[in-house]
């Protein structure tokens, strides 16, 4: 008895250590690993006024085919560069938490300051060494743009940036050459080369962003009045772009004058090249530029494409002859206030010191915001932007993750004293927290569905919360009837796992997860039937596998509680059957959809095959059981095997880069997939060991005849 009590005590201690270790690991994973490097020039960093941040963040812009708040654009830009949606700036010994919107305001209106902010995360130090830059002490520290641009060669050219361009140009040649496919594949897999390419992309995006409002901040760079008496002198040495647009006809007249026209044109040459560059960075139509903000509702109510500032400048200068006089007059009347509004906004920031006059800035921003929002509301487009703002702020998926985690910790603590009053009381807490987490998760899914106006699963990311919610709901349903806390524990663990996966996937992709759909996917009927059915099938297959683990480990350690083992088997079997119904119906419905869309029911596409393999896997299990070929332990081992197939179908087939469903390719997940397979096959191997009762024999126990 004493020995038993000691063992039990040790087991509890081990469990406690395990829980503490798990919590630390989890919190580490959540933190995103952000350290900040004290950058020069940030000591006097002044934060933006909260009202400015709020108003600016809620400005609607069109990006990737969808109207969204600027806040969303900023969050994903920052996530791509920084691996986090916010920044921690070391200012005066303190760490300031800067939101993505604030950072974007810095980039647009205080670009020199923005260049000093450590924002670039470089995971592989060899990338930096390759560029001739000394890596920081901690790999978690970020790098500022200035750190790259300030290293110059004897001619004063930015050495590191030039080296970066040279390397990436060479890599791009390989990637674009159809004759060097193999070399390109190897290049993409090389962590240093891939890291260099990724850094260059982020650098380009950053450069584009800080130059977006050049035209509003810097004007033309010359004073027209000083070149010709025909124009008004500004006294500041630079003419505003809006003035230039207003007098553009006159500029052309003066340029055509036989007397002095040529000299005038010669002086304007530089102006035009700068204007051309600034027009591009401000974004023209049909230009898939990286950052340009399509922030103005189009002139026509029928047009859906919002307008970028560069487009306005282009229409009134380089393409002005393409407009009729009437169109030009109408367009000018519509467009000029917009350019002027941006100039006034930029004018509220001192060009030398980059100090912001918050009062003026706020007043100008408020006026611009009102104009844009009222137009967006008149077009019935703003309600979803507001909803997205709410979604961004609410962070429902993060709440779900937090509550699932707390629920898991609590239920794990009840295992220390399962029969105690504490355990009974804690169970209620677990139920409550799991309930709250699940409500938050489902609310998040519904919110996304409403924002996009379509069923909740159409992208790989969207399958993660949906499958998590389905699996958790299934567990809770089982727990209502079974009340053994097995399903409840699995629910919390799956909740944590699923939401953690969603978070890491979002970080890995660093792209807006609310996506518009390809033409073929734009069928709410099929999305609501085939896709939902197949994903419920995935959820059930994974859940059956998860519960199967419990049986295998119980058998391995010689647990002889028949009620417990039978209950687990019933769950595995029941959930597998449930999964079969949905996987099979979902798979066939997919075929029916394909038949309606492409004229073929079955095309042996990898994704179709993956779904079919899940169905066949479960069918093998059910028939083997009915034929007496496997028993309880075998069912659980098979359930784990089917969950491996499900992981293959859900994730791996997207990596094959072949077939119609290759939309979900995600870089750098193969290691995790193989690790998952390795672990799960090991669990099956443990099942074999459990079958022969090797483990309890080694420790002096009796053979567990679980079957």
């Amino acid at each position: 008895m004493i020995l038993s009590s000691q063992n039990s005590c040790n087991a509890k201690q081990r469990l406690c250590c395990l829980l503490v270790g798990f919590s630390s690991l989890f919190l580490c994973g959540l933190s995103g690993g952000e350290d900040s490097y004290e950058s020069k020039g940030l000591a006097n960093y002044e934060r933006w006024d909260a009202q400015i941040v709020e108003l600016f963040g809620s400005l609607p812009v069109l990006e990737e085919g969808r109207l969204k708040p600027i806040e969303t654009v900023a969050r994903y830009k920052l996530l791509r560069m920084n691996s986090s949606k916010s920044l921690r700036l070391p200012v005066g010994g303190e760490k300031l938490k800067i939101s993505a919107t604030e950072w974007m305001l810095d980039c647009l209106f205080r670009p020199e300051l923005a260049k000093k902010i450590p924002v670039f995360k470089v995971n592989n130090p060899d990338v930096l060494i390759n560029l001739g830059l000394e890596p920081h002490h901690s790999p978690r520290e970020r790098y500022s743009y200035e750190e790259f641009s300030s290293v110059v060669d004897p001619e004063g050219m930015p050495k590191v940036l030039r080296r970066l361009s040279e390397l990436t140009n060479a890599y791009s040649k390989v990637l674009d050459d159809p004759e060097r496919e193999q070399e390109a594949k190897q290049l993409r897999r090389d962590p240093v080369k891939a890291g260099t390419l990724s850094l260059k992309t982020n650098m380009n995006e950053f450069e584009w962003l800080v130059n977006t409002l050049n035209f509003a901040r810097d004007g033309l760079g010359v004073d027209l009045g000083e070149i010709s008496p025909e124009f008004v002198k500004t006294g500041t040495g630079k003419t505003s772009v809006s003035y230039f647009l207003e007098v553009f006809d006159k500029v052309r007249e003066v340029a055509r004058l036989p007397d002095g026209g040529e000299a005038f044109v010669a002086k304007l040459n530089t102006v035009f090249s700068i204007l051309e560059r600034d027009t591009m960075t401000a974004g023209i139509k049909d230009n898939s530029s990286m950052t340009s903000l399509a922030m103005f509702p189009p002139i026509s109510r029928d047009d859906e494409e919002w307008v970028k500032p560069g487009y306005i400048i282009e229409q009134l200068t380089f393409k002005v002859d393409e407009l009729s006089d009437i169109d030009k007059a109408l367009f000018t009347r519509w467009a000029m206030p917009k350019i002027k509004a941006l100039e006034r906004l930029a004018g509220a920031v001192d060009s030398e010191t980059e100090k912001v006059n918050s009062q003026i800035f706020l007043s100008e921003l408020d006026s611009l915001h009102k104009n844009i929002v009222s137009e967006a509301e008149a077009r019935s487009e703003y309600s979803k932007v507001k909803l997205e703002m709410f979604n961004n702020r609410a962070g429902l998926f993060h709440w779900a993750l937090g509550f699932y985690f707390l629920a898991f910790l609590l239920i794990a603590f009840t295992w220390l004293a399962p029969a105690s009053a504490f355990a009974r009381f804690a169970s209620l807490g677990v139920w409550a927290m799991t309930g709250v987490a699940t409500i938050a998760l489902i609310a998040g899914i519904i919110l996304r569905s409403v924002m996009l106006g379509r069923p909740p699963i159409s992208t790989l990311y969207e399958t993660i919360p949906f499958i998590t919610a389905s699996a958790v709901l299934l567990c809770l349903f089982i727990e209502v009837f079974d009340r053994k806390k097995i399903a409840l524990a699995v629910a919390t663990l799956l909740g944590v796992g699923g939401m953690f996966l969603a978070m890491r996937f979002e970080l890995k992709e660093a792209r807006d997860t609310l996506k518009v759909l390809e033409a073929v996917l734009r069928s709410n009927f099929w999305l609501a039937t085939h896709v939902i059915a197949i994903n419920i099938g995935y959820a059930a297959a994974l859940l059956a596998g998860a519960i199967g683990h419990i049986y295998i480990f119980a058998a391995l350690f010689g647990v002889k509680n028949r009620d417990f083992l039978k209950a687990v088997t019933r769950m595995v079997y029941g959930v597998s059957c449930f999964g079969l119904v949905f996987a099979l119906v979902g798979t066939v419905l997919g075929g029916v959809w394909a038949n309606d869309s492409w004229g073929r029911f079955w095309g042996w596409d990898p994704k179709e095959n993956g779904a079919l393999m899940i169905c066949i896997g479960i069918l093998v299990m059910l028939h083997a059981r009915m034929g007496g070929l496997i028993k309880d332990l075998g069912i659980s081992m098979f359930a784990v095997f089917v969950s491996i197939i499900t992981v293959f179908s859900w994730w791996h087939v997207n990596q094959l880069e072949t077939g119609l469903h290759s939309y979900g390719f995600t870089d750098g997940i193969m290691f995790w997939l193989y690790l998952t397979y390795g672990i799960e096959f090991s669990v099956i191997a443990l099942g074999v060991i459990a079958h022969f009762g090797i483990f309890p024999k080694l420790f002096g126990g009796r053979e567990p005849r679980s079957e």
């Binding site: 119906v585 869309s597 073929r600 393999m613």
Partner: protein
């Protein structure tokens, strides 16, 4: 009886399903290396296949054979031999549905005709092209250049020519010449569709002339790696056109072409039997008073019993992107040269007529700019089992729902009883 029991038993079902599982996995992974079509032919459409585990070759049944045996096993075990009782109707119904879908698969595999039709606005066509199969068409043209009669050598007859050093002579009654095909290359293009496998003689560095091949008019065939996307391959072959005595009159290269840009070899056959190559543009001229024939390496084509005229093609992008949100075609059905009925074909909404279904598959040309003229790509299929899987799904769903609901309720009843017992015990 023992054999019957085995044939209708669970053990065979488990073996066949396991084989199906393994073959589906191998066939899926093989697609990465050899592409969908070659993998399908090897694993999914075959009776037997030879695979290798390391260096050791093993013979496996193909999915076709396994499916046929599974059909038999299901029919015998789950329908004929199964206990028929009102207590368990679900499984009978569900298995019936699966049989129906397997049957639909067999019918579709053997009787489906598939192809594509590419049309610019105003175009009219009654032919569909198979994007993966190639054939050689030999056609006689009338004085106006119109095809009068055609001989077709299909993909199956061309396959033996894929082997190194293979050559074959083709002739037919009514054809005033015979021609020899040799050194057939399955692909001479790179992944961008450029004919890198047909370099000029001056590009000596690029030359590794095909075994048995030669330089003709400064060009030679240099086979390129076959793309795993079979429709991206462009074949080419050497051709010798001979008269009935075997004398070679024309020695040339035939290059595969798409329907919009045919590259036929055009020859003029004089009354004397002499064959002369003429430019394809002169197809209507017959100076010698003989016949004009074209020999075309083209995607296999089939004629529909009706024509289609594209009135309007519309492509709508997501705002501010080049990503298609919706595309659709307004077409007229053409019967006996007359436009009769109008149809609107869009994604997920095909046109169905006379057993044929026309789907909005795609559009082109790839990489077109907003101002470019676009064509519509319609996928056409004729599948007698077109709608069978849909009905099969309804049947399976019904069967499974009945079965598992019965199971669930039984479980819930048991759980409730055991809880009642526990509550009574103390």
């Amino acid at each position: 009886m023992r054999f019957y029991n085995f044939l209708s038993g669970y053990t065979l079902a488990v073996i066949l399903l396991s084989l199906l599982l393994a073959l589906t996995y191998f066939g899926t992974m093989a697609q990465v290396e050899v592409g969908l079509y070659d993998a399908s032919e090897k694993y999914f459409q075959s009776l037997f296949l030879i695979d290798k585990i390391g260096p050791v070759p093993i013979v496996l049944p193909g999915v076709y054979l396994v499916s046929a045996l599974l059909f038999l096993n299901l029919l015998l075990g789950a329908i004929i031999r199964a206990r028929k009782s009102w207590k368990r109707p679900g499984m009978l119904i569900a298995h019936g549905g699966i049989l129906y879908i397997l049957l639909a698969g067999f019918v579709a595999f053997h009787f489906t005709e598939e192809g594509s039709m590419l049309l610019y606005e105003g175009d009219r066509a009654d032919e569909i092209y198979n994007l993966t199969d190639w054939s050689i068409e030999v056609a006689r043209h009338d004085a106006e250049g119109k095809r009068e009669s055609a001989y077709v050598i299909g993909e199956e007859d061309l396959k033996p020519l894929w082997k190194k050093g293979a050559r074959r002579t083709f002739f037919a009654e009514g054809m005033p010449f015979e021609f020899e095909i040799y050194s057939y290359a399955r692909n001479i293009s790179n992944s961008k569709g450029q004919l890198t496998g047909l370099p000029l003689e001056k590009d000596r560095t690029a030359f590794t002339v095909f075994e048995g091949g030669e330089v003709i008019d400064g060009l030679a065939i240099v086979p390129q790696e076959t793309s795993i996307t079979r429709e991206a391959n462009t074949p080419a072959t050497y051709i010798k056109v001979k008269d009935s005595t075997g004398k070679v009159h024309v020695h040339s290269i035939l290059v595969g072409a798409n329907p919009f840009a045919p590259r036929p070899l055009t020859v003029e056959v004089a009354a004397s039997g002499a064959v002369v190559q003429v430019p394809s543009t002169n197809i209507t001229e017959t100076d010698s008073g003989g016949e004009t024939w074209s020999i075309d390496l083209t995607r296999s084509r089939y004629t529909l019993p009706f024509g289609v005229e594209l009135e309007k093609f519309e492509k709508e992008d997501h705002p501010g992107t080049a990503r298609a949100r919706e595309y659709s075609s307004d077409v007229y059905r053409v019967d006996n040269g007359e436009a009769t009925e109008k149809y609107h074909i869009s994604m997920n909404k095909p046109m169905r007529y006379a057993g044929y279904t026309l789907y909005q598959a795609s559009w082109g040309p790839p990489g077109a700019k907003p101002s470019d003229r676009l064509y519509t790509s319609l996928a056409v299929s004729r599948n007698p089992a077109d709608q069978w899987p849909k009905y099969g799904t309804y049947v399976i769903s019904l069967g499974m729902v009945i079965h598992f609901m019965q199971k669930l309720f039984a479980y819930l009843r048991r759980s409730a009883r055991s809880r009642e017992k526990k509550e009574v015990k103390p």
